[in-house]
């Protein structure tokens, strides 16, 4: 199988997570990714240690996001560095950047500058909140974008404060949106020879993530979603949707007709799944406490009730079979022609490919 993006060169000026995540997706689909980094330490993510774990001196996070890429260090504040960057752009199919709005213009590497170097360049930009007004000047950081987007009031229970998502959802979803736009632009380029500027932001991606119920809310006379008192998993879905503590472990129950669930649990569950949500869920919770979650999962699963035990990572790996093993260490979440792209295990050292790239591109 030829990898779908074989032959495509991506020059990636971005740092941290959202931009590098987009180029990682293109890499898994077969593109060559050249990371341009500043000589003084490179991508800030190299030293962004989460949980104090590192591989070869760089943070594990850096390696997870930059596996398989090539690195060249260029000082964009010197004429030589800038000239080399321009040269690379002239040979790139795709350019990615996630500087704060204005920075790339001052460097002279904005879309219009890039287009002067390569008229059909496909150029991707990620910002925190758009480029012009509103919060454009604020730091485009995941937690802060989550805080502003309303998303923190969708998880957790009614009496909780805001509950952020404990993973970088803004960065990852914005990177995914950019990858989609760049791919659509590559397709158009193949047909028409046209270049494009593809833009998205953390905030647009978070609005898209919440679109199902943000649409509901913005059409419904503005009744905000209500978290349940206990085991809440969704602001707008009726009982029994949620998570329940069992004799041991927890069980998640998805949408299930109440008469079928009532029969399975030998419970009277008459009532309105929306209006009587908390009372119905309480009755279910009281019954589910009688047995371990694993027993319920088996018994209810046989009856076609949509349920799953809440697992830890360790348990998931033990029970999840080949699919989960293929995905560990985290690799491409996609299979092409039946094969999952093979992940390169780690990211490059700073300027690891500098000499070779300087020779190849005559920088």
């Amino acid at each position: 199988m030829t990898a779908p993006l074989a032959g495509i060169t991506v020059v990636d000026f971005s740092q941290f997570l959202a931009g590098p995540y987009a180029s990682l997706r293109l890499l898994d689909l077969g593109a060559r990714v050249i990371k341009v980094e500043n000589p003084a330490g490179g991508d800030l993510c190299r030293r962004h240690y989460v949980s104090d774990t590192r591989i070869k001196g760089d943070s594990t996070l850096f390696h997870a996001i930059n596996r398989g890429k090539e690195s060249i260090s260029l000082d964009l504040k010197t004429p030589q560095g800038l000239d080399a960057a321009r040269h690379l752009i002239g040979r790139a199919d795709v350019v990615i950047q996630n500087f704060r709005p204005g920075v790339i213009d001052r460097l002279g590497l904005a879309y219009d500058d890039a287009r002067a170097l390569k008229p059909d360049v496909i150029y991707g930009s990620i910002s925190g909140y758009g480029e012009n007004d509103g919060w454009a000047a604020e730091p485009g950081q995941d937690l802060l974008a989550q805080a502003r987007s309303g998303l923190m009031w969708l998880s957790g229970n009614a009496s909780d404060g805001p509950v952020p998502m404990g993973l970088p959802i803004a960065d990852i979803s914005a990177g995914a949106c950019l990858a989609q736009g760049l791919l659509a632009a590559l397709f158009r380029h193949a047909r028409t020879g046209q270049g494009s500027h593809v833009q998205t932001s953390l905030l647009e991606a978070l609005i898209d993530m919440q679109f199902e119920f943000l649409s509901t809310w913005s059409t419904n006379g503005q009744t905000p979603p209500q978290r349940m008192e206990q085991g809440s998993a969704h602001g707008y879905l009726g009982a029994p949707y949620g998570v329940y503590a069992c004799a041991s472990g927890h069980l998640a129950l998805a949408m299930t007709p109440m008469d079928r669930l009532g029969a399975a649990l030998t419970l009277d569950l008459t009532g309105d799944p929306f209006k009587d949500r908390d009372a119905l869920c309480q009755r279910i919770a009281d019954r589910l406490r009688d047995k371990p979650a694993a027993t319920w999962e088996t018994d209810l699963g046989k009856l076609g009730i949509w349920c799953a035990r809440v697992l830890t990572w360790d348990e998931m790996r033990s029970h999840g079979g080949d699919l989960v093993r293929q995905m560990l260490p985290p690799s491409a979440p996609i299979r092409m022609d039946g094969t999952r792209p093979a992940p390169a295990p780690i990211g490059p050292e700073l300027d690891e490919h500098g000499d070779r790239l300087r020779a190849e591109f005559q920088l």
Binding site: L5, P139, Q141, Q180, Q199, H250, P330
Partner: protein, 381 residues
């Protein structure tokens, strides 16, 4: 209007056999990028999502959520168990560039519309398949539903605080993420088709999307002696971030604080008790440090702190809910909503595509089709 360049996918025909969320949302993204999307639905009731009414909201008989996922598409009603209908659908597939389905593993093989069969019919076809857990393995027959995959994938142990039970994310994050992966794979195959002339098979699943979504933290786990993630005692926003990362209550609301040097915070707050913790302890003593920061922040309103921290370059933000968020200039600047209309004039508001191309937002005011609205126009005998 005449100089507006054609949308990237204009002229492409996508058949959407999928129901509910991940598949239809992938097709929606392709539609926003310019493709013609035709839903192929069973004549009795169509996509089950048409009747999945949440919050009691409908639009012309179908659930509002259905319109949210299927705006701008066409609909063809066909019974894949009837040979005559199946023939017509095969003819339609021969005319298509992309097809998407999310039937359970094995169903399309029984119908005869699996990738091997349809690629014989149309070698240029790009075939996208969505499942919960892949086509093999112990979970292949489990329902591929967002909450259940969150439960199985450990995600519910990343949200909430140390003393909480599992805290799932309160929206369909994995469906949306899976849709994104499918779009990426399909578009990459279309790029390849431009060179090779042949289509391809793209398979995605909610479980792989869950692992991808946690790839940062999972990588830490795998390289950290497999210690399970420990959520912070309070204001947890990422088990793997040091103090002060998280959410704090102020005297009038909540605020978020991202990575910030402790000494600088101590200085800005006039709180030497924070400076008593060396920066190197930001991981090992994070709960203690966060408790001290929380004591300081709860004494004054959020805006008071934001006014001190933001000019000093500390990464912080107010925590907004939807009513507050949608009234901000930041929301207005993005202009992220659009109004959709049915042919008879019913209206609803929804979000637009989060991608901008050449400075233009991508919008489409059409609502979702009624079941079978385009059958006669598209399916010819």
């Amino acid at each position: 209007m005449t100089d507006t360049p054609a949308l990237p996918l204009s002229g492409l025909r996508v058949l959407d056999f999928a129901q509910f969320l991940a598949g239809p949302v992938a097709a929606l993204r392709l539609s926003d990028l310019g493709a013609e999307v035709i839903k192929v639905e069973r004549p009795q009731g169509g996509d089950m999502c048409r009747s999945m009414v949440v919050n009691d909201q409908r639009m012309e008989g179908d659930s509002l959520v259905f319109h949210t996922f299927n705006r701008g598409k066409k609909s063809v009603a066909a019974d894949l168990k009837q040979p005559a209908d199946l023939d017509r659908v095969r003819a339609l597939i021969a005319s298509a560039d992309v097809m998407i389905h999310n039937f359970r593993p094995g169903v399309m093989e029984r119908i005869g519309l699996d990738y091997a069969s349809v690629s014989a019919l149309n070698p240029r076809l790009v075939y996208g398949s969505v499942s919960g857990y892949g086509a093999t393995g112990p979970w292949r027959d489990k329902p591929g539903q967002d909450l259940l995959v969150q439960a199985l994938s450990g995600i519910a142990w990343l949200n909430g605080n140390a003393d909480d039970g599992p805290v799932p994310t309160g929206f369909a994050m994995l469906d949306v993420a899976t849709a994104g992966h499918l779009v990426q794979g399909i578009l990459a195959c279309l790029v390849r088709r431009g060179i090779s002339g042949t289509g391809g098979l793209v398979e995605v699943d909610l479980m792989s999307a869950a692992l991808d979504m946690t790839f940062e933290q999972f990588t830490c786990f795998l390289n950290d002696g497999e210690t399970p993630p420990r959520r912070h005692a309070s204001g947890n926003a990422n088990p793997y971030q040091p103090a002060p990362y998280g959410i704090y209550r102020t005297s009038d609301g909540w605020m978020a604080l991202a990575m910030s040097p402790l000494a600088k915070l101590a200085d800005l707050f006039g709180a030497p008790q924070i400076a008593a913790f060396p920066q190197d302890d930001a991981f090992t003593r994070l709960d203690e440090i966060k408790a001290v920061v929380a004591e300081v922040l709860k004494t004054r309103p959020a805006q008071h702190w934001l006014d001190i921290l933001e000019p000093a370059g500390i990464w912080c933000a107010p925590v907004l809910d939807w009513p507050a968020f949608t009234k901000t200039d930041g929301f207005a600047a993005l202009d992220p909503l659009q109004t959709i209309r049915t042919p008879s004039g019913a209206e609803a508001r929804t979000t637009r595509c989060p991608i901008r191309i050449d400075g233009q937002t991508l919008r489409n005011p059409a609502a979702a089709p009624t079941l079978g609205a385009d059958t006669d126009a598209i399916l010819t005998a």
